[in-house]
């Protein structure tokens, strides 16, 4: 299986904390500092709370796949033929119900991807940055 290589544009500081987390080997998402509730994806304005302050917090590295797809023809801008196939996972951390994080399936050893399969986070090198990988829990 391949690995998608697409540049991370961090002109928008909304997402810097996510990639800082990957660099530190953690899966981090945003939470409301006042209520502690997860707010994901980080929005420009937290619904109903324009003054809300978000912070990046680690979530459980274990969870399950909401869904998946194996990309055969990449639709990313540019030429990505050498990077396919890879399997995208929409990962739901155990301690953040309803939150979904996009990453790729790794260390699958021939295990077919499936909805609700148990997974564990592992960061993956993808060019000059890291992306989220998820390995089946056996």
């Amino acid at each position: 299986m391949g690995i998608p290589i697409y540049p991370v544009h961090l002109e928008d500081p909304l997402f810097q904390g996510y990639y800082d987390g990957l660099d530190a080997g953690e899966l981090r998402i945003t939470a409301d500092t006042e209520t502690g509730e997860w707010v994901w994806y980080p929005p420009e304005v937290v619904p109903g709370k324009p003054d809300a302050v978000l912070e990046w917090r680690p979530v459980s590295p274990e969870g399950k796949a909401y869904s998946f797809t194996t990309v055969i023809r990449s639709l990313l801008p540019g030429d990505h033929k050498a990077e396919v196939p890879y399997t995208v996972i929409l990962f739901e951390p155990d301690d953040a119900p309803g939150v979904r994080i996009a990453g790729i399936l790794v260390d699958d050893d021939g295990v077919d991807p499936a909805c609700d399969m148990r997974l564990r986070f592992r960061p993956v090198e993808a060019g000059d940055h890291r992306i989220a990988g998820f390995a089946p829990v056996r």
């Binding site: 997402f15 994806y41 797809t69 639709l75």
Partner: protein, 382 residues
């Protein structure tokens, strides 16, 4: 709002091409003039205009291009895809006519799928997609809808052959449609020979790349009786809105394939005073086979979770008990979001379709998905 107050009095289309030469404005103008002529009207009769925010041409431009009279009413459909062209625009037109603000309202649309940047360019401009999804390789509608298909199959069961039957059904209708872009026969083997894009969706599961346009004219039912065609009245329009912006709707909705079509269908059937068993045919926004399956369920043509098996059983094919997408839909006929499905509904209800005419078609539902909103429209022949 009540049904049977307004009618679709004129329809017009351009050719649907894999790669055309005309601009969006040229195609909208061509389709609009055809629709106005079809209604037995002249551009000077058009006093209301509904434009579309994704097309990028405000109504003064199209009014100028067709040589319309002074505009008395304009509005912009604020949704996307089929919801805008077959739901919001029609509702706005009815509001304008019932309020006495316009007599004949033009709804034009055109698309150049082959424009630079491609059909997925607008997704790349969403900050969440650019920042969090594209680096993980999650990008483009076929990939988004593929994850819906896998989740749907997990919850309800769906074999490859059942999924393929949607494409095969629409292709069978396209084979009877001279203007359809893809008319070559497609059985399961032919389906399997189309390239896989993102499992389980193949090229055959996706809408076509089309350069083309369509337009229609809405008038009061009383005015329609003085015009050339049988009166095709709007019996019901329902619209379901969800507040999920494009940046989050393919990942963060509790159920990613739960479009608000249950709500839109309930509204439309209630307004029309009919239910699904009264329909003679339906047109379903088929951006992808999986989204057509789900909307077929939402229209009430089958039970929830049975959409793929509904198609596999042959119910929607030519000669089936509930014909669906009788000009080939967006997957085989052409992709002019929503509007060519509405136009096909009108043609069927007029009884103009020759080889593919559904016998005695009098009541048709049109389902319009658009981003995370959804419309259901019920049209009837007097």
């Amino acid at each position: 709002m009540k049904g049977n107050k307004v009618a679709i009095t004129g329809i017009g289309e351009t050719a649907f091409l894999r790669k055309g030469e005309e601009t969006v404005m040229q195609m909208m103008t061509r389709a609009s003039l055809a629709a106005i002529a079809d209604a037995g009207l002249t551009p000077a009769d058009i006093d209301g205009h509904i434009s579309n925010k994704y097309v990028g041409h405000p109504s003064e431009e199209i009014a100028h291009a067709i040589g319309a009279a002074t505009r008395r009413f304009t509005a912009v459909a604020d949704t996307a895809g089929g919801t805008a062209t077959t739901g919001d625009a029609l509702r706005l037109a009815q509001l304008a006519i019932e309020a006495g603000l316009a007599r004949h309202v033009l709804v034009p649309y055109a698309i150049r799928s082959t424009k630079p940047g491609g059909v997925y360019g607008f997704h790349a401009r969403e900050p969440q997609k650019a920042g969090l999804e594209m680096p993980a390789g999650f990008f483009g509608q076929p990939t988004y809808f593929a994850t819906m298909a896998n989740r749907y199959a997990h919850e309800f069961g769906m074999s490859e052959a059942e999924l393929a039957s949607v494409s095969m059904t629409y292709r069978a209708w396209a084979a009877l449609t001279p203007s359809a872009q893809k008319r070559d026969p497609m059985d399961l083997d032919a389906y399997r020979q189309t390239p896989m894009i993102s499992t389980p969706l193949r090229v055959a599961d996706c809408c076509l790349t089309t350069d083309g346009g369509g337009a229609y004219v809405v008038s009061a039912v009383e005015a329609a009786r003085d015009l050339p065609h049988p009166v095709i009245s709007v019996q019901g329009v329902g619209i379901g809105y969800n507040n999920y912006p494009h940046g989050v709707l393919f990942t963060q909705k509790p159920c990613t394939f739960d479009y608000p079509g249950w709500d839109s269908a309930a509204q439309a059937y209630a307004m029309a005073g009919v239910d699904p068993k009264d329909l003679d045919l339906a047109q379903v926004y088929d951006g992808f086979s999986i989204s057509a399956i789900v909307q077929t369920e939402m229209l009430g043509l089958c039970d929830r979770g049975e959409g793929a098996r509904f198609y596999a059983a042959g119910h929607a094919k030519p000669g089936g008990r509930m014909p669906v997408n009788t000009s080939g839909g967006h997957m085989s006929g052409g992709y002019v979001p929503g509007i060519n499905l509405l136009i096909e509904a009108v043609r069927q209800l007029r009884g103009q379709e020759g080889d593919r005419q559904v016998p005695d078609a009098r009541l048709c539902a049109v389902a319009g998905l658009g981003g995370n909103n959804h419309s259901t429209t019920i049209l009837a022949r007097d």
